[in-house]
Each structure stands twice: as C-alpha cells, then as structure tokens.
C-alpha cells in the first residue's frame, strides 16, 4: 500500500459511478486490480450504482394524463393571475377615498360657514358651533354612504373569492388522479370533496345579508352550490364515471365560463 492507495480509495465512488475521465479511470483501475480491499469496496459501490440506475429506468407511469396536468397548471396560473380576485378588492383604496371625501367635506363646511357668517358679525363661539354642526352632518352622511359602499364591495369580493375557489375545485375534480390500487376505475377526490364541504360551510357566511349586491350572481351561485354538494358527498375513491358525469354536466351548462363572466362582472369597479 502506498499514498496513492488512500487517494484512490477515497474516489472509488466516482469510479463506480463511471464519471471519471478515461485517464483517471485507467490509473485507478490498474490500482484496483492489485488491491483486494479496493476491489471489495468497488464491487459494493457498483451494486449501489446499479441499484440507482435500475430504479431510474423503472417504468413509473405518469400519475395523470398530460391533458389533466395542463388543466391543473392553467387553473393554478389563473388563480394566481392579477385578474383573479384572490386579494380582497376593497382593501384600503376605497377607505382612503372615503376619508379624503370626509376631509374635503369638513374643510368645505368650515370655509362656507366662515364666509357666510362674516358680514353679520356673528360671535366666534357661534361660528365654531355652526362649523361643528355642519361638519358632523357631513361626516355622518359620508360615513353612512361609505359603510354602505364598503359593505357592498366587501360582499362582491367575498362572492368572487368563493366562486373562484369553487371553480378551482370543479376544474381539479375533472382532472383528479387515479386512486391507488384501482387501475383506471376510480379517482382520488379526497381533497376536492373536503374543499367543497368547506366552501359550502363558508357560503352562507360569505353572502348573508348582502343578497341585493349579488343579484346578478345568484343563478350561477346556486348552480355552483348544487355541483359542490355533489362533490362534497364523494368518497375518497370515486368511480371515474360519476366524476365524468359531473364534468359533462358542467360542460353542457357552460358552468366554468359562466363563473368567469360573473366573477368579472362582480370584480368590476
């Protein structure tokens, strides 16, 4: 044994993986041919390498069809796009606008009161009182309008979010992966069924008391609710024919397209 032995021994993995250049491979192979411990080590490392190669070329079927993957990718892109309303539309913008309006109202009230009261030589205390009354009246009116607008915007944003999430679920159901051990007979819709149940639970809270803001969406929301109820009742492994039937029904009713149109309508400023 010499110093080269230790150098080669520490690189036997690379020889086993067949990644060394020809010159180095030759040099190491010569050494290994005369070194029993290296031969034993190399033979075991080669078994590992072969096991990895065998595993890599194993015929692992792609779990879903290419079309289904495309559907999933497009659904994810869609749900993340700026046009979709994952973020509440109302956020801070209307609040800032409303506060500005209130500010302008207050200022106008003060100015108008001062200008109109100056010639009559009204006492300063009276001016202050009048300004305060005017400002309070303006503020109350603006507050009421603001809250009403805010509530409607909020309701529309909630409905859009509900419909977008429902649309994702319905698209995912149509492209669900095969159930383990079932061949192509049934599909695993565990996640979709669970999400449908959660969405149905949330639906009432999302839109209660705000129906008049959502008249345009009522029909589609009822259709969506009907389909979600069917999906929510699915078992973990559901027969593919049942899922296909729902997909066909949605297709005939053009439900996904309707959801698109309604969400665009609701999300419009």
């Amino acid at each position: 044994m010499n110093l080269l032995h230790f150098r080669y021994r520490d690189r036997l993995g690379l020889l086993a993986a067949d990644v060394l250049d020809p010159q180095e491979t030759d040099a190491m192979s010569k050494h290994v041919s005369t070194c029993r411990p290296c031969q034993a080590e190399l033979s075991e490392l080669r078994l590992v390498s072969v096991a990895l190669e065998d595993d890599a070329v194993m015929d692992r079927p792609f779990p879903i069809s290419s079309d289904a993957l495309r559907t999933r990718v497009l659904a994810q892109i869609r749900s993340a796009s700026p046009h979709s309303v994952k973020q509440p539309v109302w956020s801070l913008r209307p609040i800032a606008m409303a506060l500005s309006l209130i500010g302008v109202g207050l200022l106008t009230g003060v100015l108008v009161t001062r200008m109109s009261s100056a010639p009559a030589q009204v006492e300063p205390a009276q001016i202050a009182q009048a300004s305060a009354d005017s400002a309070a009246a303006d503020s109350a009116a603006n507050d009421a309008a603001f809250y009403e607008r805010l509530q409607k915007t909020h309701a529309r944003a909630n409905a859009v979010r509900y419909l977008s999430e429902a649309q994702d679920v319905l698209m995912q159901v149509a492209s669900a992966a095969d159930c383990p051990n079932s061949g192509k007979e049934s599909v695993d819709v565990t996640r979709e069924a669970q999400t449908s149940r959660l969405l149905l639970k949330r639906r009432a809270a999302l839109v209660s008391g705000t129906e008049d803001s959502l008249i345009a969406a009522r029909g589609v929301m009822e259709e969506v609710e009907g389909v979600l109820q069917q999906v929510a009742e699915f078992e973990q492994c559901t027969r593919r024919t049942e899922v296909d039937a729902i997909a066909l029904r949605m297709d005939r009713r053009k439900l996904l397209m309707k959801i698109d149109l309604v969400t665009q309508e609701l999300a419009a400023p």
């Binding site: 690379l14 490392l45 078994l47 590992v48 194993m58 792609f62 879903i64 495309r70 999933r72 051990n181």
Partner: protein, 194 residues
Amino acid sequence: MRTASERWNGVRDTDLLAQLQAGDEDALAPLMARHERRLYGIAYGYLRNSEDALEVVQDAFVKLFQQSERVDTRAEVGAWLTRVAINAAIDRYRQKKRRGTREVEVENEDLQHIPSRREAGPLDNLHTEDSRRELERGLRALNETQRAVVTLRHFSELSLDEIASTLGVRLGTVKSSLNRALARMKTAMGEARA
C-alpha cells in the same frame, strides 16, 4: 388543417419560449409535453412520492409561465426547468422534514404495482421488493445536496458539470457529494440487509 400539436412540430424550445414571452399561452402545452415526464422522473427520484412529484412538476410549469420573461431565450428551457424542479423538490423535502413527516414515504403502489423491467417470478418479485426497500433506506441516509446530485446524475443523466451548474455549486462539491453519497448508501443498504 393542422392540429394544435402539429402546429408546434419541429419548433425549438427557445422559439416556444419566445412565443410564451410574447403572450402566446398555447406555447406552454408543447413545452409541457416535451418536459413533463423528465421533470417528473427527477422530482420523483428526489422525493420518492408521486403526488409530491406531480406538484413539483405542476409548480415548475406555472413558474415557467409566470416568469417566462426572466428566462434567457438563448438558454436551454430544459435546463431552466430542471433547476426549478430540483430546487422545488429540495424545498418540499426540507419542509416535510421540518414538519416531522417521515422523510421518505415509499408508496405501496410503487412497491407493488410498478412492473419490473423483465418478466419475473414470485421469488424474483420478493427480491425486487427487498432491493427497493434497501434503496429507499440508502437514499434516506443522504443529505440534501448528496440526494440532489444522485438524483440529477441517475434520473436526468446530467454530466457533473451540468449538475454543478444546475445546483449552483462547484464541480468539486458535486464530485465529493456523489462519492460520499454512494459510500453512505452502501453502508445504509448493508445495514438494511443485515
């Protein structure tokens, strides 16, 4: 009349990427068709779980769509996707470990329903199943970099230089990681047999 898939026949990846950058969403489908199985192989090789691997592939294509403008049209789309997929797989693996999930979940389907490359009798099947379990144990013994190097070498057949570029590490790191990975796997697989 040409079908949708025929439209892209012979069109290079870089041209498809340019189409995607120009806003042509249809260019995504042929890119997916060309790379989905290879990416799935890499992601599966790393994560050893079909559902996780599928999600990694899905995320890689979503990222390609969303960040197509950031991809250099002169570069290989396949290499970019490989980098995204392996990094996503590493992240997912790390998250699972952090959450305390068993590091590698060998799915029953993988052990029972994947056909062997050759016709085999019942005894051979038992042997194959044992071998696969040993392999999983060996892979579990690796750290993240070693696992990534082994995956890219065996499941994507990248050269060591390409692996270094994909992972953003030096060639020497790739070599030492591969060398140590095989040694660790050998020990872990030996313990599994004992």
